[in-house]
């Protein structure tokens, strides 16, 4: 594999950049693999990469129905953070933050990680108290957290509405300075390129149609491009988890819902942080191109549509305008939707299943993108060692029946409750 560097860039300039290697190959499926990962999104690609890098398992195939990075890794609002209160989420996400910081060097691919900080706004005294509690929990877990008062927030984001007579006045906020954003497509492409260079087969336009299971053990999968033998299968298919679960006769604590995001027309730099509205569900940052990147609530009903509906968008942007009135002057450039694997407690599942050799990675809800490296790393460990790592031990499938829910914010499928 050609290294991406300034020297190679100059060298290739002499041949008009016509001689670069392909970033990854387009192989035909082999008859057998040690591990098959279903789903060529961020998590699937990261899993394959860490299987090869950390566990020396390179006879790996990634099976992707469409094209890699065409799902949620290409549809999110690129926010990276670890501002969680519960240990399971906090330690897992903070482990991921470390991987994010090293990612561009590690992958030899500029993922444009920008640790610009995230501010969750508070709109009441009670909310300030809960933020203080969450901030303290974060700091106990070694995560940076700063509680800001109204004046401090005003200094950082003066464009927010600080007038006195608003419905949700800004009392302060909780900031995680090390949180940020990254170029989402680059994350998928960076993992794909490295995984491919270590021998992983990335097989696109290949749909999984069934599983070969005998005596509770997985023996292979059936795809639109032929049967593949394997002893280990990892599911990383986000919103399509329920479709594959049905083929496995499993019913999961997952519902598939639609989440929208949108960007405004590009404007000059105004916002250099990620900011979330505390009295509803709205988050915003500004991309390097100058677009305001915004998102919020689910559309609210089960959906596989991958495209949004206007009432929710209107609801979300109303919150945005309440928080930052200047947004009302901007034109909308694009809106889009992705299908989320919403778990019932709002926390993910990375676990083995009752079928020997079948591993499950799902339930990412609103926070799949930021979890990409940590999810890939722990899922690779779970598959390679056939046991969960302590970082994902809490994300078990049976926690719903045993009562060990991780109800971080109560943000599960039931948005009408939260």
């Amino acid at each position: 594999m050609q290294k991406y560097s300034i020297f190679n860039l100059v060298k290739n300039a002499f041949s008009n950049h016509e001689n670069w290697d392909l970033a990854w190959k387009d192989p035909t499926p082999k008859e057998e693999y040690d591990v098959v990962i279903i789903g060529g999104g961020g998590h699937g690609l990261a899993t394959a990469y860490y299987l090869a890098k950390e566990h020396n398992i390179t006879k790996v195939a990634i099976i992707e129905k469409g094209w890699i990075g065409g799902g949620n890794v290409g549809r999110n609002t690129t926010i990276i953070r670890s501002n969680y209160m519960h240990d399971e989420n906090a330690l897992f996400s903070e482990f991921g933050m470390d991987l994010w910081r090293k990612m561009s060097q590690d992958l030899n691919y500029n993922v444009m990680f920008s640790p610009r900080g995230i501010i969750n706004l508070a709109h009441s005294d009670a909310q300030m108290n809960t933020y203080a509690r969450r901030g303290n929990s974060m700091r106990l877990n070694g995560i940076d957290a700063v509680l800001l008062n109204r004046e401090q927030v005003k200094e950082i984001i003066p464009m927010a509405d600080f007038s006195e007579n608003v419905r949700f006045p800004i009392f302060g906020g909780l900031m995680q300075p090390s949180a940020g954003t990254a170029r989402h497509d680059a994350v998928a492409w960076g993992y794909a390129r490295q995984a491919d260079s270590m021998g992983v087969d990335i097989i696109q336009n290949c749909e999984v149609t069934g599983f070969d299971i005998t005596a509770g053990k997985i023996n292979g999968i059936r795809t639109s491009r032929g049967n593949i033998k394997t002893k280990k299968v990892g599911l990383c298919v986000a919103g399509s988890t329920n479709i594959l679960a049905e083929k496995l006769n499993m019913t999961l604590p997952i519902e598939t819902h639609l989440l929208q995001a949108c960007v405004s027309e590009p404007v000059k730099p105004i916002l250099d942080r990620v900011v979330t509205f505390g009295a509803g569900h709205f988050y915003i940052s500004q991309s390097d191109k100058g677009e305001m990147v915004m998102g919020g609530d689910l559309d609210g009903y089960n959906s596989y549509a991958q495209r949004g509906n206007l009432p929710t968008l209107q609801h979300v942007l109303t919150e945005g305008i309440a928080m930052m009135p200047f947004l009302s002057k901007l034109k909308m450039l694009r809106t889009w939707g992705g299908i989320m694997d919403m778990s019932m407690d709002g926390s993910p599942i990375i676990d083995k299943t009752h079928i020997d050799g079948l591993y499950l990675n799902c339930g990412w809800c609103y926070g799949g993108f930021k979890a990409t490296p940590a999810s890939g790393w722990t899922f690779a460990h779970t598959i390679a060692q056939d046991r969960v790592h302590e970082l994902n031990a809490g994300f078990s499938l049976n926690r719903f029946s045993t009562g060990y829910l991780i109800d971080e914010k109560g943000l599960g499928t039931k948005t009408w409750i939260s």
Binding site: N242, I243, E246, T251, L252, P253, I254, E255, T256, G300, Y301, N302, S303, Y304, A305, N309, L310, P311, M344, F400, S401, T413, K414, W416
Partner: protein
């Protein structure tokens, strides 16, 4: 924008309704021995498939009745709506 035909009030905009999830889920019967697995299936586990989906909606800003809606989760086409206690053949 979805348009949902409330069996009590007629065709109304989605904005008047609130979603209630999968309508095929049955609560375990009372006064019977109920296993953890049955509770688990009732509270947490869902099929949530692509295609036809029978679901509960409440006409919150209207007659406030709960209704059942048969909708396609991929195309959002609504095939039929029923009263909450209506038997569906």
């Amino acid at each position: 924008m979805l348009h949902i035909k409330c069996p009590h009030c007629g065709m109304r905009s989605q904005n008047e309704f609130s979603y209630g999830g999968d309508a095929s889920v049955k609560r375990p019967e009372l006064n019977k021995e109920i296993s953890d697995e049955e509770w688990d299936n009732f509270v947490y586990n869902r099929k949530s498939l692509r295609g036809k989906h029978l679901e509960l909606w409440q006409h919150l800003s209207g007659c406030r009745q709960w209704i059942k809606v048969e909708r396609d989760t991929a195309t959002h086409e609504i095939f039929n709506t029923y009263k909450a206690d209506e038997e569906i053949s």
